[in-house]
């Protein structure tokens, strides 16, 4: 493919960041590069970084939209700390990303956009390409806009349409750099713009122009190549966390034989789950966009009573609004899954940024003693399995389940080994048969302590549920003090017993020793990478990651007892560490916290753990 095969350098992994104005199509560029990465067999993870505003003022730092991909010949667990290659379509994109690239990163810029008026908008006093601030970087200056227009000249597109495809010029350059084939991308153009052959042609021409430009110029001393990763055999695809979450629920509905019902209200960064489920009525999945967050969950409770696998999806502020209704689901002991795609808080906070600061709200944010199962997805592809498991636990144990994901998992993507739905664990809800003479609404299963699910329309099972305290067994309204205490304890024990139905906590590294690093939820990939790298360097450091938060895995105390020092890492001020302190007060805990709306970086974790190891 390349004329410069003699100058191909083999890399283990690389990080590329595409950055431009939010209208420049950087997300598409990134996702097309991801697709080609899949074809060459690398493992990869991606992360989009976009502003909360749909179209912030053009050319300003707040309007910069970015897409990062980390790919390699090994297992990739994170979207990468810092980029090795930055594509900056304008000065603002350069400015916004200088902190997110390595010291010797290659920077590709569209010189046509590096003009006086754009320097001002970006907040530069001088041209950053000439003021010496990029010393140490290899800067590839390409008049992308001009050459894009030139490439499509013969198609006689209007100026605006012609410029629209300039992102493909940049993509063409990066394809050349990484010895990529562009046939798959051409195929994408042909499918996507089926109705507009001119646009297909334009995009192809521009991509090729970028590719050949990169081939021709002297600036690229080398091209790069990364060998396929040793992934397990099988069929793969790329998924974002939100997509995987939606699909996990669809799979759970199919496997449990229940219709899916999602009652939800749009909120960043959770809306994509609602959008995805809305597309799949063919599976008898009903997505109801309610008038507010409360109607979202309450309609789901109604659907749950009527026999559906019922869900509601939201982010932090929405979870606050749903609190009272979650209490109703606790009292009525109906199955429902509440997804909280966590974002920066409090209040409106940082809607497009990621945080883990809703943990306490998920665990305790309700009136009364209102225990629910809480689980936290650990990666974008794990969102599929977490959604599936949350559904299984809700349906089989007749209880609300809160599934915590976060903005980084939701919008980030990674490679996903496609499972067979039939290979997923069976889901068997305790549905009562018509005219069951033993039916009592609150007569419990002896092992799980769940109550039976009697679905309206079934003969001989008419009964009432509601938010008032229920009499044991009969489910009649009861104000009896001792009955109330019994019911409070039973509801708690029902959730506690779920510990028998979830996997034990596993440890990576020595099963006892000096340091145990602890994480939960979405930080799995980054902590794992830091631990793996330290262990490869010969350090003795162990790692345990929590997906199940309420109840905790039953061997948790056991694991904690085996280490001299425990350090809990999380993107909040210490909510999980305090939960551990509450449950296991006999141990000392160190903590490492970051609350910047950004995920941890591998480098910062490694640096911190190293300093602990050297103490």
């Amino acid at each position: 493919m390349s004329d410069k095969k003699d100058r191909v350098i083999e890399l283990k992994n690389a990080v590329i960041r595409f950055a431009g104005d939010s209208g420049d199509g950087m997300q598409l560029t990134g996702s097309l590069f991801s697709d080609s990465t899949a074809i060459v067999g690398n493992d990869f993870a991606t992360f989009p970084d976009y502003p909360a505003e749909i179209r912030a003022p053009q050319g300003t730092v707040s309007g910069v939209s970015g897409f990062q991909i980390h790919f390699g010949d090994m297992d990739i667990h994170t979207s990468g700390d810092q980029a090795d290659v930055l594509v900056a379509m304008n000065p603002a994109s350069l400015k916004a990303n200088m902190n997110w690239i390595t010291r010797d990163a290659i920077i590709i810029v569209d010189t046509d956009a590096f003009v006086e008026k754009n320097f001002k908008k970006a907040g530069y006093d001088e041209n950053p390409l000439t003021d010496g601030s990029l010393t140490g970087h290899l800067v590839i200056e390409a008049p992308i806009t001009t050459m894009t227009k030139e490439a499509v000249k013969e198609l006689q597109l209007d100026n605006k349409s012609a410029q629209k495809s300039k992102n493909m010029f940049a993509l063409g350059m990066v394809f050349f750099m990484f010895n990529r084939d562009y046939e798959g991308t051409f195929k994408f153009f042909e499918d996507k713009f089926k109705s507009n052959p001119l646009v297909v042609e334009a995009n192809k021409k521009v991509l090729l122009a970028g590719y050949h430009f990169a081939n021709t110029i002297e600036a690229f001393a080398n091209t790069y190549k990364i060998e396929p990763a040793p992934l397990k055999k099988g069929l793969y695809r790329n998924v974002t966390g939100n997509l995987a979450t939606a699909w996990g629920f669809l799979a759970a509905a199919e496997r449990s034989g229940r219709n899916l019902f999602l009652g939800s209200y749009p909120i960043t960064p959770a809306s994509e789950i609602l959008q995805e489920i809305s597309k799949h009525k063919q599976f008898t999945a009903i997505a109801f966009q309610a008038e507010d967050e409360i109607a979202g969950i309450v309609s789901a409770i109604g659907a749950s009573y009527a026999g559906s696998l019922a869900l509601t999806t939201t982010s932090g502020p929405g979870l606050s609004l749903k609190s009272e209704a979650i209490g109703l689901a606790v009292m009525t002991e109906l199955p429902i899954v509440i997804v909280d795609v966590q974002r920066g808080g409090p209040s409106t906070g940082l809607p497009t940024k990621s945080e883990q600061s809703d943990l306490m709200q998920a665990l305790f944010g309700r009136n009364g003693e209102a225990p629910v199962i809480v689980i936290a997805a650990t990666s974008s592809s794990d969102c599929f399995y977490s959604a599936y498991e949350a559904s299984k636990l809700a349906l089989e144990h007749m209880t609300p389940v809160i599934l915590l994901t976060d903005g980084a998992l939701a919008n980030g993507s990674e490679v996903f080994l496609i499972p067979q739905v039939a290979s997923l664990p069976e889901i068997v809800p305790p549905i009562v048969k018509a005219n069951d003479p033993d039916f009592k609404p609150y007569k419990r299963d002896e092992k799980k302590l769940n109550r039976p699910w009697a679905i309206p329309g079934t003969e001989g099972l008419r009964h009432r549920v509601g938010g008032l305290e229920k009499e044991d067994v009969t489910g009649h309204v009861s104000y009896d003090p001792l009955n109330h205490e019994k019911m409070v304890k039973t509801r708690q024990e029902k959730v506690d017993r779920v510990a028998e139905y979830i996997p034990e906590l596993s440890v990576i590294g020595e099963k006892e020793g000096d340091i145990l690093v602890i994480g939960w939820g979405g930080t799995y990939g980054v902590i794992l990478t830091a631990i793996e790298e330290l262990r490869e360097e010969g350090q003795k450091i162990s790692f345990a990651h929590f997906k199940h938060i309420m109840p905790l895995p039953k061997n948790t105390g056991d694991v904690l007892s085996k280490y001299k020092r425990i350090i809990v890492c999380e993107n909040n001020l210490g909510q999980f560490v305090n939960y551990l302190r509450m449950n296991f007060p006999m141990y000392d805990y160190l903590q490492y916290n970051k609350v910047q709306g950004l995920p941890f970086m591998v480098s910062e974790l490694k640096a911190h753990f190293s300093s602990l190891l050297n103490e």
Binding site: H280, Q282, I286, I418, V421, R464, G467
Partner: protein
């Protein structure tokens, strides 16, 4: 056009719907009569008893599901409309009844109320309007008349009340009726019409609260004054009322007016004839707004207009997608788009 569901009768009686629970409303509360009327209506609708679901919010009226031997959910304050929507969407076969009050649906649940009406699922809403908060012991509600002196408005309220009928029609409601809690026969008749209407039907029940708002509807309901203050509307019939049936409603200019038949040359022919099925809501909203002492209160079915229901549209869409989608199961879905094989 009206919108009616006809179903064959089943051999059910009132007994099939009576619960064994002790009814704990205050003696003399209008709720008792409403419960009786509902128990009269349910066996007559031709619906299997296991297909009724009675849902509610919070308040005195919202204890209703506990007193019916049907499936039922006592929800949370103001949210009954969302609960009902979820039940109906999940299983359109069910006959869903929503019991709510003026606090529950006009205040905390006002948002859900207008949206359920706008979407038009086939749900029957019984709105108990006693113009007071009963369960919290006597605070004014959004339907309390301006100036009402209550525990939280010792000098009288400073706010204009909602008229539920205006709200329903304003939210593009297709069915609105009004009844009084003192007339079980009228309630039974109107509840039956509400049940048969395909779409959201709202029945406002002017209800007395003996403890905190006694006689609030006295002008409309008391023996001495009711004949002069009740106009019972029937489709195709002139709007005549009064003990002597000598008063009527006419349209003068753009306003309704009360006239006396036989005076000033007015004959029965001049009286407006009720058409609940006309799309145009102009007269309906004027009828809903009429209140004593200037006007009689309009009772019976004020508006009943045909329309598709929410769940019908949703489920038609489900059926259509099932027939036309290439995706037959979730495995198919997981294999869509860009996939690649690792050997």
């Amino acid at each position: 056009m009206e919108n009616i569901i006809e179903t064959p009768k089943l051999a059910l009686t009132k007994k099939d719907f009576e619960s064994d629970r002790m009814v704990k409303w205050c003696p003399g509360c209008g709720d008792h009569a409403i419960l009786k009327a509902v128990e009269n209506v349910f066996p007559e609708l031709g619906i299997p008893k296991e297909n009724f679901v009675v849902v509610s919010g919070i308040g005195c009226s919202s204890r209703f599901p506990y007193y019916m031997n049907t499936y039922g959910v006592h929800g949370i304050h103001g949210r009954a409309a969302a609960l009902a929507t979820g039940v109906k969407l999940a299983n359109p076969e069910l006959s869903v009844w929503m019991i709510t009050g003026d606090g529950d649906s006009m205040a905390i649940g006002g948002n859900h109320f207008i949206h359920v009406v706008r979407r038009n699922p086939d749900i029957n809403i019984l709105l108990f309007n006693n113009k007071i908060y009963g369960l919290t012991k006597g605070q004014f509600s959004p339907t309390s008349p301006e100036g009402s002196k209550t525990k939280t408005s010792p000098q009288g309220t400073y706010e204009a009340p909602f008229n539920p009928g205006e709200l329903v029609i304003g939210a593009h409601g297709k069915f609105f009726a009004r009844v009084v809690d003192t007339n079980i026969k009228m309630m039974s008749q109107v509840f039956t019409e509400a049940a048969k209407h395909k779409g959201t039907s709202v029945v406002e029940i002017l209800e007395n609260c003996v403890i905190f708002n006694n006689q609030i509807h006295a002008l409309i309901t008391s023996r001495d004054t009711k004949d002069e203050n009740q106009l019972f509307l029937e489709a195709g019939e002139p709007m005549i009322f009064g003990k002597e049936r000598d008063k009527g409603i006419v349209l003068r200019g753009t306003n309704l007016e009360v006239v006396k038949i036989g005076e000033n040359g007015i004959t029965e022919k001049d009286i407006l004839v009720h058409d609940p099925h006309t799309e145009d809501s102009g007269i309906h909203v004027m009828l809903a707004s009429m209140m004593p002492p200037e006007f009689p209160a309009a009772l019976g079915v004020i508006r009943s207009v045909k329309s598709h229901t929410f769940e019908e549209l949703v489920w038609n869409s489900v059926e259509h997608e099932k027939k036309t989608s290439k995706l037959k199961n979730v495995d198919d879905l997981l294999h869509t788009g860009n996939t690649w094989v690792k050997q």
